[in-house]
Symmetry: D2
Subunit: 340 residues, 4 copies
């Protein structure tokens, strides 16, 4: 059975397992004290051209979003996101669990529109009852978005401008950042560091066993951050297990190379789909492909390929999703294009 | 200066002050133990034809909504409301403060559409990722709505049906219930008790000094409710101060008579507005009147009348709101119609 | 049946009911916007000799403690209290409900020892694992304490000194402050304002229908406090109902006069108890009297007087509590001394 | 430099790294859906002789405690623990973060006394004000305790009896369970499964890269547990990474063998310490050794060995802690005994 169901079904880059094996009995300091935490952070700081960036290694995406948002917001503030944003749609209420509201604005193929964001915040401050309404305290975007689309530099700059005007930190979910970096090379890690106040460099979906690197770029890591991570139940005793993986992934561009594989394999599949006349639900340049098809056809396909059933859009039609990863091999891609 | 800015600017029915004075030195048991708590609850049970109803006296609307929703929901559930619902729009995130998400569906002049509710819940249960999405665990409506409109019996029955199908309690915010009862006499307190699982009979806006009576109609008061009220910081040492007010308001229909005054006075104003050709933002049969007018005219008016600036709708036009109450006098109404 | 069970069983000072009746139809601005809110705050500022104090009117003691502590603490901090402190012992977990730990140190007849406080905080900062331990972020005391005892000026100054050294706000629960003021006239409201960072002037137990006045004395009211009060579900639409009561109580020393009555009546009872050879559990100079007696005797007594059964201390002996109030009359006191 | 500072400084059992490498490109289902999740759970069920046990794989100890306690408790309940319990003392308030109070009773060398527990709960239910006090809703113990001591079967049975009487689930923190199993073979995994309602089999400190296996033994896994894990930010996309490690550790007794190594190495060190006349702070039969010594001596020692400074006990004396692990080698032990 072929599988294109997601990008977290394989283990990790071979180099990571080798490194973990190599240093297995080196004694490491606990929590964030190991030299690998420092070394990985240093490599990330270099890669993002932000010498003062603060880096913290965490376990998963929802956890990282929850921690970044809960600690960057004041208690009476909420986070602005699109209706398709992961924090709004697929995190079981993890943001509200920490007492904060997700304030939603429309999604345009997964993306937030800077004009609509501006309108929203302006309206809030113009409302007579503003102090009875949750204050928009920061902005959440994802790059790539949940629909695989990418913000352009101009779009990000426009959102940044609204954030500056209203003093809201801009936070970027980079669960699949490797694919963004591979798909649009005009936007580099350094650009993301400049444009955001905090972002995370996803590991779980980008070639690590698990783990995310949360980066604060403006000297704005919330005070007592380690204690707050612990308070959230998110502090790893062996923080270095995540750090080592980033140390390896940020050596010789392994991180981006993984993203490149995912994007290239997706491109091959998209080309084949296009040639065969399939209809796309959204035009995604990264490693997620959304295809509209008849239910019956999708069901037939499901006997040969694992994919995600994204949405039932009525009229006996569904959207299905194929995902490639850092580990997707040519043989599988070929097999898939033959099946399609 | 005339004032039609809200319905919580006056004190209380004269009878309430008299009763408080009369019993001032009677020694009452604390919290919910006074005989007035029992007596008022008994009168409410009779008025709603629900002998087993459980009644708890609280202080304000946001507090009551927060407590009802937090205790009726399971920790992983959210409450479905319209985008204009008070819990979504004007409670400073009080629901999220207790860890729960407000799940929104469209508002139609303040009202929820049963079909859209059904669609929403059905989609949730049909989603492959349902266990990563906040479960719709109860439904919040207000009667009258925040826009002064009223659900009909059929509309409420349709919502009830969806709630039954998906085993979601239906909770009704009755901050201005006296006005609903006055404006549509075909829907009685007994109907509301039958149609909902819990609702509150608003006092603060309906002639009490302060206070709301939260009613659980199906033997479904959450266990250890008093402790949870205390945990929320909402338990009054002198619970009887609220209870006595309900005891008075539920004697000789004082509660509904207050609503009637508000609705009748509003009707006079609406009639005058209509005759003068004013445009209404929404057709409200209760004690809130929403009028669309040019900004300049609204500003001129503001020198003679206090009203609420509801919304700037562009094109130099605004929506303003006039509110009448249990205490609004004929003289004021006359003065207002002359000013308009 | 005589009742000395608590100090929240009667209504309010007659002057309060008269004032409420007098202004019943004056139209007041909502929330904290009424002129009575300003007038009452101004009178409190004068009474405490603190022209810049910020005053907010709330509903009850647990609510006030919860709000003050939640908003004065950082999210990772806890509040230090004695094991008998109200926030630790009798608030159904209201502090933990907002995410904060109560850090306990011993109680000496209800009082905190400055030396033990110092030891506790010093040990925290000296601990290698301090960042895995909840930070002591503020100090909670009550005056009078839950056992009716009073801190002396020297004891308060010593606690203040520790707070200064470790930059912890000192917060004082004044649920029965009127009695403290009456029982020890060498400590005035102005002293309390100087010695604390925030405190509340209790109304519910000191002659108001309900309500507490929370005072921030150092320009330290947490930002967006009104929104946070709303978020806690604690914002009264008719905030002026509480404010008017303080306006009255801070006219002609009514507040302290109420406390004086409670303390004087308690003194008469204590004198009678002493003469009759009763054993006191704690020597309390305010309006709570704790007496140790045999269970059988206590039971016999309970047929004639309502009191609080405070604690079963074994050996068939119990501690019972008598409480007097602003409203306790001479006749009742005389009847009690005869019964004893 | 020798290091006996903790048991989470090395990587993982070699067999784990080999297995991860071997299956690196097998495609696994996400979250808890992989066959390794099922296989590891099955092996655990067999090892604990509890065919209906429900097993969930999590990331760390604080997270596991927070989740178990938050989901087993009702919202108004707290967890009873000793003052030295990890949840009380060293988790940055993670339990309170979820709204629950930790109710403390004394610690006897890390252990809870069943009699004192009984007294505490009985007193709660006998208190007139019980509904204003946090209800003891479950009991937390750790085996081994934070001081390396072990409960005997009789002690556990006595605690169990109190839990049964008051219907409180008994939850056991097994962060170092491998060492408990190795140090007292008369108490097996099956015994722990019988005696508790839930417990976790620690991985992070017992030979895994990271991870803990939370086990519900009485068909009592809280409903919608996966969603609640997600809501806590604790759901791993690649849940199988933890599961595989348990699959390996529960093959050929690897888990217990790791514990045995730690305990045996600790025994050698303790013997040497005893012979040299060192004073022990507590008599611990597992892998933590607490030694009392002069500050100066401890400082001199710190130049040759990494240890934990546990506590300053005054009189220029300190308690220091040595910890062995599944990975501690003979050479290190020999070197340490020579240094001592």
């Amino acid at each position: 059975m072929l599988s294109f169901v997601n990008d977290y079904c394989e283990g990790a880059h071979q180099e990571i397992l080798e490194k973990l094996t190599e240093i297995n009995f080196e004694k490491q300091a606990g929590y964030m004290g190991s030299r690998y935490c420092e070394s990985a952070a240093e490599k990330i700081r270099a890669a993002i051209s932000c010498p003062n960036a603060e880096v913290f290694f965490l376990t998963g995406g929802t956890q990282t979003n929850q921690l970044a948002i809960d600690t960057l917001l004041k208690p009476y503030e909420g986070v602005v996101a699109t209706r398709t944003g992961h924090v709004e749609a697929h995190e079981s209420g993890a943001i509200e669990f920490t007492g904060h509201k997700v304030l939603t604005i429309p999604s345009h193929n997964g993306k937030m529109d800077a004009g609509e964001l501006h309108e929203y915040v302006k309206k809030y401050y113009g409302d007579e009852s503003w102090d009875h309404i949750v204050t928009p305290g920061m902005v959440y975007i994802s790059q790539p978005t949940e629909l695989g689309t990418l913000y352009t530099r101009e779009e990000l700059a426009a959102i940044r401008k609204v954030c500056d005007e209203y003093r809201m930190p801009l936070y970027m979910d980079g669960a699949r950042l490797a694919e963004a970096l591979a798909a649009d090379e005009t936007l580099t890690l350094s650009d993301y560091a400049l444009l955001t106040d905090a972002f995370y460099i996803g590991g779980t979906k980008c070639g690590a066993l698990f783990g995310e690197a949360l980066v604060f770029t403006k000297g704005n890591m919330p005070e007592r951050f380690l204690s707050r991570v612990k308070q959230h139940g998110a502090l790893l005793a062996k923080g270095w297990i995540v750090a080592v993986q980033y140390d390896v992934m940020f050596t010789d561009d392994l991180y981006i190379r993984g993203g490149r594989n995912a994007v290239e394999k997706a491109a091959v599949i998209k080309k084949a789909l296009k040639e065969k006349g399939y209809e796309f639900y959204v035009d995604s340049p990264t490693n997620q492909i959304f295809v509209v098809m008849d239910k019956s056809r999708a069901e037939a396909l499901s006997e040969k390929v694992n994919y995600t059933l994204w949405e039932d859009i009525g009229d006996s039609r569904v959207v299905i999703r194929f995902v490639t990863s850092w580990a997707t091999g040519e043989a599988d891609v070929k097999a898939l294009t033959e099946v399609l």
